[in-house]
Symmetry: C2
Subunit: 704 residues, 2 copies
Amino acid sequence: MRIKGFLLAIASFSILILFLFAQAAPAALKSFHVMPMPSSITPGNGQLPIDESFKACLTGYADTQLPSSVARFLQRLQNKTGIPLDLTPSLDTKQAILEIQCKGPGEQVQSVAADESYTLEVNSHDAKLIAASPIGVFRGLETFLQLVDLDNHSFYVPALRIEDHPRFRWRGLLVDVSRHWEPIEVIKRTLDAMAAVKMNLFHWHLSDDQGFRVESRIFPKLHQKGSDGKYYRQSEIREVVAYARARGIRVVPEFDMPGHTTAWLVAYPELAGAPGPYQIERSWGVFDPCMDPTKKSLYSFLDLFIGEMVALFPDEYFHIGGDEVNGKQWDSSARIREFKKREGMKNNRDLQAYFNRQLLKILKKHGKKMIGWDEILHPELPKDIAIQSWRGQKSLAEGARLGYNGILSYSYYLDHMKPASFHYGIDPLGAEAADLTEKEKMHILGGEVCMWAEFVNPENIESRIWPRTAAIAERLWSPASSEQVDDLYYRLEYISRELDSYGSMHRRNPFQMLERMAGCQDISPLKQLSDLLKATGLGVRQRARKYYSYTPMNRLADSVMPESEIARQFDILVDNALYGTNGISESSLSEIQKRLSLWNENDSKLKPIIEKSYLLGEAGSLSALLADLCKTGLESLEYIKLRQKAPESWQKEALALLDRTDKPQAEVLIAVAPSIRKLIEVAAAGMVMHVDRIMLEPTSGSKR
Amino acid sequence: MRIKGFLLAIASFSILILFLFAQAAPAALKSFHVMPMPSSITPGNGQLPIDESFKACLTGYADTQLPSSVARFLQRLQNKTGIPLDLTPSLDTKQAILEIQCKGPGEQVQSVAADESYTLEVNSHDAKLIAASPIGVFRGLETFLQLVDLDNHSFYVPALRIEDHPRFRWRGLLVDVSRHWEPIEVIKRTLDAMAAVKMNLFHWHLSDDQGFRVESRIFPKLHQKGSDGKYYRQSEIREVVAYARARGIRVVPEFDMPGHTTAWLVAYPELAGAPGPYQIERSWGVFDPCMDPTKKSLYSFLDLFIGEMVALFPDEYFHIGGDEVNGKQWDSSARIREFKKREGMKNNRDLQAYFNRQLLKILKKHGKKMIGWDEILHPELPKDIAIQSWRGQKSLAEGARLGYNGILSYSYYLDHMKPASFHYGIDPLGAEAADLTEKEKMHILGGEVCMWAEFVNPENIESRIWPRTAAIAERLWSPASSEQVDDLYYRLEYISRELDSYGSMHRRNPFQMLERMAGCQDISPLKQLSDLLKATGLGVRQRARKYYSYTPMNRLADSVMPESEIARQFDILVDNALYGTNGISESSLSEIQKRLSLWNENDSKLKPIIEKSYLLGEAGSLSALLADLCKTGLESLEYIKLRQKAPESWQKEALALLDRTDKPQAEVLIAVAPSIRKLIEVAAAGMVMHVDRIMLEPTSGSKR
């Protein structure tokens, strides 16, 4: 559901509210700052105070893990409120404020069919959480924690009844640790944050051309020669898998093959389609090195290797990648060409399907299901493989029609630096799936957010994942009807702070990066500039200069956030000023004037900081351009106030300036430029135009 | 060296600069943002760029630890610059930019006599660090890291030559983990920060009336009954000791006895001077429960216990506390009175000396030196014990005269919430030690900062320790002559950011506490208020209300910093405005007006936030008082500008307002009040008075 879906959603605004919150007034919506929004919330009367007397108890089933999960919840509740709590869940219901009733043990190994549902009932005296399995308990405790708020009396949870279950069974996040390495702490923080927004699958992209990241004891050269020393020890893998399991998150490893395998081939060139030697890739793109599917020895190797890996990764699925084989090595080799001919293969797709069939046999032998990218879809492969679609909703729907399970990743690529509202609008069961039968729809398991790592490292990765991923987590968990962009951003801001308080570095690290750039100086003017910018995606950055895996990521382009909340708010203000129901709003105009003046003056405050820092050299012209733009915006206001059409010469200059702001500068964009464009256009026209168009569009950047 | 010393120091300002930086102009001072300031810095020409080519090598001695210490340094340098570096120190000098030459292995167990000296030479091509032992290497690497700065060309280290060694051998920090528990992560972060400012001793106050915090396998009831489950496992103790050792920090455990032992006696009441049962103390003060020194079984117990503990703590010293025995149990027991009579003891001091002699025998048997608080000083104890002085410099000097080794803690108590400049002015070899012979002076080993834990928990402890402790670390490391308060604060601000970037939570956590208080709202106005306040010490808080160990610490009084840098800067501005060499400065007055207006307007912005939060209820009148004060300050400016004497009625009201601001409100103080008082006094007098007094005083609050 893209732009079209949005328009529809905006149009049916009030109907949706009634649908979702039958008993709540629209204003009450904001009081439930929960993300993802539960399937059903029925507000009650009053609220449950959270104070020193708060205790939790466990009734029903409890394994050895559950009490420590509840203790962790209590510790987080203590952190959130600052109130010392008894961290040991009691077994006695009498003293407890929150009763947690777990019905049964759930699955030995969490599967795609795991029951994650729960009900939570809160009244002014106590609360009860009921779930079929520990995973449902985890989900319910996250909801409870998010509901905790404070007023002028106490911390509290509002009285309510929640019945909740996910819309999709597969709600994943892929983290690429090959292109840039991520240490265990970052992975753990990411899992904590995923659990907070009820995601249930961590897709660990463990090998690629730029690095092989797992210790192999059978083939130690894989990590020794393929990783620059940056790999996970097997004990660490086990630790992460257990950590994820304790949060209701599956871990699916990906070993991308037969392409994207340079790092393997550095260690074992004999597996390749062309003689080596090979070197770890240091740049980005699709490269030639590729496994040779015609070699029997390859499958003996993979059998041993996969046998070793399945002992580390208990999940039912094993991701074999399978994307972006350019076929150059296969075409160049006489032996491979001969093999294809002999086997009656028409093209390299057939050869890759052959490879995948061999791989599938190995996976089955080791008790695993195969999952891979779009390219593995081939008529010769059986229906029990799953397809991860980077090609889009159409490709996903086609797979489902053919009877393949699939998950959507198209448009959930974080490195494209799209706004949360854009991702939020993408539904795995969107328009493209409209014609599927109910049974076919069941093949669409869910979606996966992808954090490809060309432009992220341990310092900035979290700021690229959060909070945007929370919006996708909601899209995959909540009923399809949650479509209000303003409410989305209100709750995103809330969840962003929550994640920060749980230990995520997505807000802190960008701040520290600004402090680094400024040296030992007050960074307020730099923060001001940074808050008005937005980061650019993979494409812009790759065109801007040649990047390598060892290129420092310490510039503004690496720290600026993917979207600017200040810009979004400003855009709303501009829309109110120009297109309000009562015509042009003078008070909004004067608020705009205040902000533009402030931003305009920032340039001179920033200058001395920029002059002292080589990392900020490129920020100078950016800041000056922003200042010019604000100045032109201020001039527009004068024309608008006087209801005058601006002179032609002014228009020409203003539009030339706008043209410059459309292009990235220093690999970032001025986030407030589109709103200032609106002011300039109205000043140039001497009247408010296009009211219909603007009124119908969502207030944030889904059109970008 | 207290106020008197300060005045002297200010008076001899220029002489000091010449003394310390013979070759540097005063302006160059600020370019070396190193803390503690090295014994000697000789500036060179040019600077050494830090870029992708930076490599370090180890020459001379290297044990198994040193390469990983250097790797950790390289990782931190990478974090500081954002430049990916080769993290493995090479053994080849040719490629290296920084050569680290370690002469020898140092001590097996770090002692008070450890050689911490190093020399660091940096030119525009490379750098060389030479140290006698790994500990000297650690110290030098911290200096190198702090020297890294950036300009408009690159990151760099200025060319210079440093010869550095500590003035005192004992530079400690006591952390009380009994009154409030601190988890291992907080301890580790504290050790990291200590290492950054070259402190060499972590004094772990592990038992007190409120908790016994170490696992004992011989006497498991100690931690089981005495800790509420909040204790360190033996494996964790070993981990901390090793962590500290890898940073050149000794760990001295303190088991406070025979008083402050309620938590022991909960588990083993038979050790007490009165029949139990006992309960863990939940409040603060000096309590009656005390060990019974007349029982032989006590010494068998302690022999076994200490035998167990010395296996965990390799340090040569073992701290036995010995403070604040109120003697009530001893006086009440007929048996104990009889024992004293029989042994010819005049008083409880004699009885405690008897206890200490028995304890000393046990410690000697286990190869340990005894250290304890002032009270253990008794003519019957031998000279090889060390005394930690909480009674002050005079007591310390007396001990030294008697031949006892001693360390100063008086005036290094962080819970008194004094400003850094106050602590900075206290010298273990200050005026009180002036009459000591050189040999006697050698008995004064150094000092220890004390973080008592009545009002700190894992969330706010770091904000009470840092950055103030860095000032004391400098007092104990650097030459006695470093006395410039402005430069101190300039470097404190720098080191504070450094520590933050190394992972310390001392800046982040108070911010998150404000976010908690405000709920899901923009906290800027609350931050503004908070920045103009300062925290109050133990005394004020204890008088304000009854506190228990389980009282939430989530209020403004718990988050506000011990000093306000904004207030300090404002005070300098006010002094410039009123007492500048050219008389009253109009430009400074208008800057004052700008700030007072801003702060005055803050109250109305804060109101809606306060109204929504029960945690901020008490902040309302505080904010209103500050607003009133700023308004009165603004009125003062009008009189001052007109060189008019304010009318009597205005004066009366203004002074009444000032009286209110002298008293804590909501257990905090308005940090800018003393500066506004200056304005009001000048307005009331119609002229600038007391120029001499004010000119001679240091610009920050050492008079508090």
